[in-house]
C-alpha cells in the first residue's frame, strides 16, 4: 500500500514568518445537529473532547474538534487514526441522523509561524485579528479561496481545499516576503 502524499510534499518558505505545508493530516467532517443529545457523549467517548462552543476549537493532544456551522464539526487528528475514528463515531451515533465523512485528502493544511505570523494572514483575510478569541476557529476567505484557521502555539494553522494548495502557498509566500511587514520594528 502506498503512502498518502500531501498536496505540496511539505513545501516551506522562510520570510518574516515561516510558512510550512504540513500533512497529510487526518480530518473528519461530522454533520449533526449540535443539540443532539448523543453527540456530546459520542465526542467524549471517541475523542475525549466535548462539543465546542460556537466558533471555538477544542484541543487534546493531537486531536481537535472545531465548530464549523450549527450542524457541522471538523475533527483534526493523525492521518492514520481516521478510519478507526470514523468507524467509532459511526457506531457511537448509530440510529441518529448524522453524516461522518473522511475529508483528510480533500484538504491542505499550512502552518504560519513566528511573532509576525498574523501579519501574513492580515493581508489575505478580511478578519479583525484583534477580536479573535484565542481558541477561535475562523472560517473566511484567503484572497480568492475559502479557508479556515485557528491560532496555535507560535502561529496559526490554516486549512484550505487541496486543489488550490499551490495557490494558497503562493499567497502565503507573497505575503510573508521579507521587508513587507505591516508593522515594521
Amino acid at each position: 500500500m502506498s503512502e498518502a502524499a500531501s498536496a505540496l510534499g511539505n513545501a516551506s518558505f522562510e520570510g518574516f514568518a515561516t510558512i510550512r505545508e504540513i500533512g497529510p493530516m487526518g480530518m473528519i467532517a461530522l454533520r449533526a445537529k449540535h443539540d443532539l443529545p448523543q453527540l456530546s457523549a459520542a465526542l467524549t467517548a471517541v475523542l475525549g473532547l466535548g462539543l465546542p462552543e460556537r466558533r471555538r476549537i477544542l484541543t487534546r493532544g493531537e486531536v481537535r474538534v472545531g465548530w464549523m456551522s450549527p450542524d457541522e464539526l471538523l475533527i483534526v487528528l493523525p492521518y492514520g487514526d481516521v478510519a478507526a475514528t470514523v468507524a467509532a463515531l459511526t457506531q457511537a451515533l448509530a440510529g441518529v441522523h448524522m453524516l461522518v465523512a473522511d475529508v483528510s485528502d480533500a484538504r491542505c493544511i499550512f502552518r504560519i509561524e513566528g511573532e509576525k505570523a498574523a501579519q501574513v494572514l492580515m493581508k489575505l483575510c478580511p478578519v479583525d485579528f484583534a477580536m479573535l478569541a484565542p481558541d477561535e476557529l475562523r472560517r473566511t476567505r484567503t484572497a480568492q479561496v475559502p479557508a479556515a484557521f485557528w491560532a496555535e502555539q507560535g502561529g496559526y494553522t490554516l486549512v484550505a481545499f487541496r486543489s488550490v494548495a499551490a495557490y494558497v502557498m503562493g499567497l502565503l509566500t507573497h505575503s510573508a516576503q521579507p521587508g513587507s511587514e505591516l508593522f515594521p520594528g
Binding site: 500500500m1 484572497a143 486543489s163 488550490v164
Partner: protein, 993 residues
Amino acid sequence: MSTRLARGGRLIDRATAHEFTFNGKRMAGFAGDTLASALLANDQMLVGRSFKYHRPRGIVASGAEEPNALVNLGQGARLEPNQRTTTTELFPGLAAASQNHWPSLEFDVGVVNNAVARFLPAGFYYKTFLQPRAAWKHLFEPVIRASAGLGRAPTEADPDRYEQAYAHCDLLVVGGGIAGLQAALTAAGTGARVIVLEQTAHWGGRAPVDDVLIDEKPADHWVAATVAALSAMPNVTLRLRCMAAGVYDHGYVLAEERVADHTPGDGRPKKRLWRIRAAKVITATGAIERPLPFAGNDIPGVMLASAVRDYIVNWAVSPGDRVVIVTNNDDAYRTAIAVHRAGLTVPAVLDARTEADGDLVQEVRSLGIAVHLNRGIAKVKGGRRVSGVAVCAQAGEGAVLDEIACDAVAMSGGWSPVVHLWSHCGGKLIWDEAQAAFRPDPQRPPITHDGQAMVAAVGSANGLLQADEVLADAIRAAGGSGPAPKVHAPAEAAMVPVWMMPQGASAELRAKMWLDYQNDVKVADVQLAAREGYESVEHTKRYTTLGMATDQGKLSNINGLAVLAGSLNAPIPQVGTTTFRPPYTPVTLGALAGEARGEIFQPLRRTPMHDWHQAHGVYWEPVGLWRRPYCYTRPGESHADAVKREVVNARSHLGLLDASTLGKIVVKGPDAGRFLDMMYTNVMSSLPVGRCRYGLMCNENGFLMDDGVVARISDDTWLCHTTSGGADRIHAHMEDWLQCEWWDWQVYTANLTEQYAQIAVVGPSARKLLEKLGGMDVSKEALPFMHWAEGTLAGIPARAFRISFSGELSYEIAVPAGQGLAFWEACIAAGKEFGLMPYGTEALHVLRAEKGFIMIGDETDGTVIPQDLNLGWAVSKKKADFIGKRGQERTFLASPDRWKLVGLETLDGSVLPDGAIAPAPGMNANGQRNTQGRVTSTYYSPTLKKGIAMGLVHRGPDRMGEVLEFPKIWGGVVKARIVDPVFYDKAGEKQDV
C-alpha cells in the same frame, strides 16, 4: 528665477544630497524634497504642457491638488505616467520627463492649438462630431488622438510587488494635521482603536508653516509631542504616506500606502492597498486654496499663495525674487511675511477688497510692504515665465493703472474645505457665505449600517479656517469634553468672494482666465456653455471638461461653479456641486490588483496528478478554475494528431483519463431519497444499493443545469457525481433547497469532490488492467454495467464504478486523493503491455460525441430542456413534483415545435464549423434571416474517419435524412444530413461486456 535659499527648510536635510534627472538634465536636491521643490530649486518652473492648447505649465501648488506638474516618472519597466511632482518624494537617481509635448518641452508643435484657441471652444469635441462626419473621422480625430493623452504607458511588465491588507478600527482619522492628531489623541484616550492616515511623509499639516502657536510654542513642538504620545499608545496606529482614496458603505475605506515608492527596488512592496473597516471616520483633510481667475493666471510663476510659503518654509525654495501677492483674504498676507522673511521682495500686495485691517495686514504694512486695496491683476505678462503684472481696479473693467515687474505671483481666492471623503458615501454640503465655500452639513452626514453618522469632518475640512477653532472642533468630534490646547492665531478679517478679476473683465480677458489648468477650461468657456443652455453643473462639467482632468477639479470646481452660477444669475448653492467620487487622488492599478498577478492571479485548481500530466507532454485546457489535460502530445505531434491517436487507442486498446474534477457529493439521511427525487428529473429513491443511474438536474425554470451518475451507497446514502466545475454550484443548489425550503427534511450533504482522485480506465483491455493491479473482483458477473463496488486495487482503497462515457468497457476508479498519483502511476506501469495511453478532454469529447452523449454547456445553454435532447426518458412522468417540473409544463416548453437534438453528417465528410447556424427561408421582424438549427458539438471522428456533429434543429427528429445548409464564416456553405446522433455502437454492446 526660482532657486534654493541659503537658510531654512524645515523638511529638508541639507547634509544628504540626491542627484536626479529631468528630461535627461542632471539636477540635485536634498533628502526631504519633493520632486516639485527640487525642480524649483533648480529653476525648473516650466514642467509640462496643458492638455488642449499645449500651453506652458508651471508648478502651481505644493500638494495633492497640483493640476499641472505631472511627469513620466521612472524608466523602462518602472515608467509611470502622470505622476504628481508635488507628492513625489525625491530619491537618489530619480528620472523624470515632462509630458504632452512634441518635440520638446521648450518648443512644442501642439502649441499651434493655442493660436487657434478660439476655434477650440467649449464642447469642441461634441460640436465637431456633429459637423460633416467625414471631417471627424479623417481630419480631426487623427490629429486629436495623436496629441491626446498626457503620459506614456509603460511597455514592459511592472517589476514591482504590490499587496493589500485589512485593518479594523473604532475610529479612522484621515489627515495628520493638528485637527487629525488632536481627534486621534482624544479618541485614543477613551481606549478606542484608532488609525491615523496622513497622505504626505510628514505630520502636522499646514499649522507649522502658518506660524500657528500652540501652548505658546510653534506648532511643530505640539505636533512632535502629540505624535510621540500617540505612537506610545498600543491602541493607535499611525501611518504616513497613506492616502485615503475613498469612503464606502458601512465604514469601508480604501487607502493607498506608498511603501517603497521613494525607495524603488529595495524589495519592499511598492504600494499597499489598505482595506479598512472603521466604525466611524473623522475626516481632517484640511482645505485647498483656490486660484483667482485673472487673465494669464496660467503662466508659469503664478502660484497659490499657500504653495509659495510652503516652498519657502518647508523646502527653502524661492519661487522668485519679486513676488506679487494678489488676494481676497487675510491668509495670503502670511505669504507676504514669509517672502519678506526669506529676504525676497514683495513689490505689492494687491487686495481685491476695499478694506483690509486684520492683524496680518497690519503686520505686512509694518514691514514696509505696499498694500493696494480694490486692486486686481488685469493681466499677467510673460510667456514661459511671469515677467510682471498689469494692475487694475477690481471694481473696473481692466484698465491698466500700473505695471509691476515680478517673476512670481502668489494668488489666493480663499479656501475650499476638502469634502471629498465626506461626500463619497452620501454626505451633503451646505454653502458657507462667509468663506464662500461648500462645507459638510452636520445635519446630513453619510450614514452607516445602524442609521447613525458614519463620517464627521473636523477642522478646516469642516470649514473652520482659523487655527484657534480647529482643536476644539477636533475634541468635540472625537467625543471628548476637555479644554483644547491654547492656540494663538492672528485675527483675520472676512474674505470677499472674487469669481472674476476684475469684476467687469472684457471678453478678451475672460478668454485668458483659466479655471481648469490641465484641461484648458477658461471663464469664457463656462460662460459660453451657460449661454448655450447648459444649466446643470453636471452637464456643464462634461460639456466643457471642467474638472475632468487627473486632478478632478480640486482647484477649479468652485471657481467654475461660481462662474456658471454668475452666468445663470442663480445663487451658487442652487447650482450645486458635481458628484465627488473616489479615488481622492489616483490609485495605482497595481495596488488594486494587489497580490493577484502572475502565478496567483487566480486560484488554479490542480488534481493530484497535475504534475504527472505536466511532465508528460500535456496541453492544458481550463475547465472553470481547473486545469485539465486537453491532450498529451508526443514529439513532433500536433494537438489534432494527438487527439486522434488517443481516441483510436482508447477504442482499440486502453485509455486512462484523469476524471478527478468530476463533482462528488454525498447525500445522506432518512429523507435523502425524497430529496434527490426533487433534485433530479428522474427517480433516485428507487435506485438499489450498489447500482448507478444517470441523472439530470434542472433549475426551477425547467432548463437543464447539470447531469451525472448517481450511485446508491447504502440504504440512506447516495453519491451524486456532477459535471467538472459544477460541484460547488450543485452543492450550493442542494443546500439552498435544504436550508431555505425543506428545512424540516432530514438530509445532510457533503461535497467530497477533492477527497478522491477519479481515474477512468477505458477500452477493451480495461478489465485486464484492473485484474493485473489486483485486489477486487471486477468481472462482469461481480461488477456488471452500471454497478459499483468497493475494495482495493494495487493495494489502494478504491471504489470502482462501471460507468461509461465513451461507449467502451470502462471503469471509473475513485481513490483517496493523497494516493491518486500512486494509483495513476501503477496503472501506467501495469498498462504498458495492454498499450495503455492517457487521453485528455478532447478525446473524451470525441468519444462521447461518437456515442451521441450530450455535454452540459455544449448541447445546453440555459434554454434547453431535457426533452429537447431526447432525454424525456430520464424525466419522470410519475413524480408529482421535482425542481423544474412546473417550469417544463409551460406551453412553449411543452410544445413539440422546438429545436431538438439530432446528429449531423456532412455530405463531403468535412467538419462543420462550431456554432454554425442553418438559415431558414424568410426574415424575422428585425430584418434578420430566420434560422432553423445550430451546431452544438462538432468533431472529426477518427473512428468513423469523417466529420460528425450534434445540433439542435427545429423538429429535428421528425426530419431524418433532410439536408441542411450551414453557411461558413468566410463564405460558402457546408451541407449536412440530419441523422441519428448515435454514430457508434448504437446497440451499446461494447460498453456492456
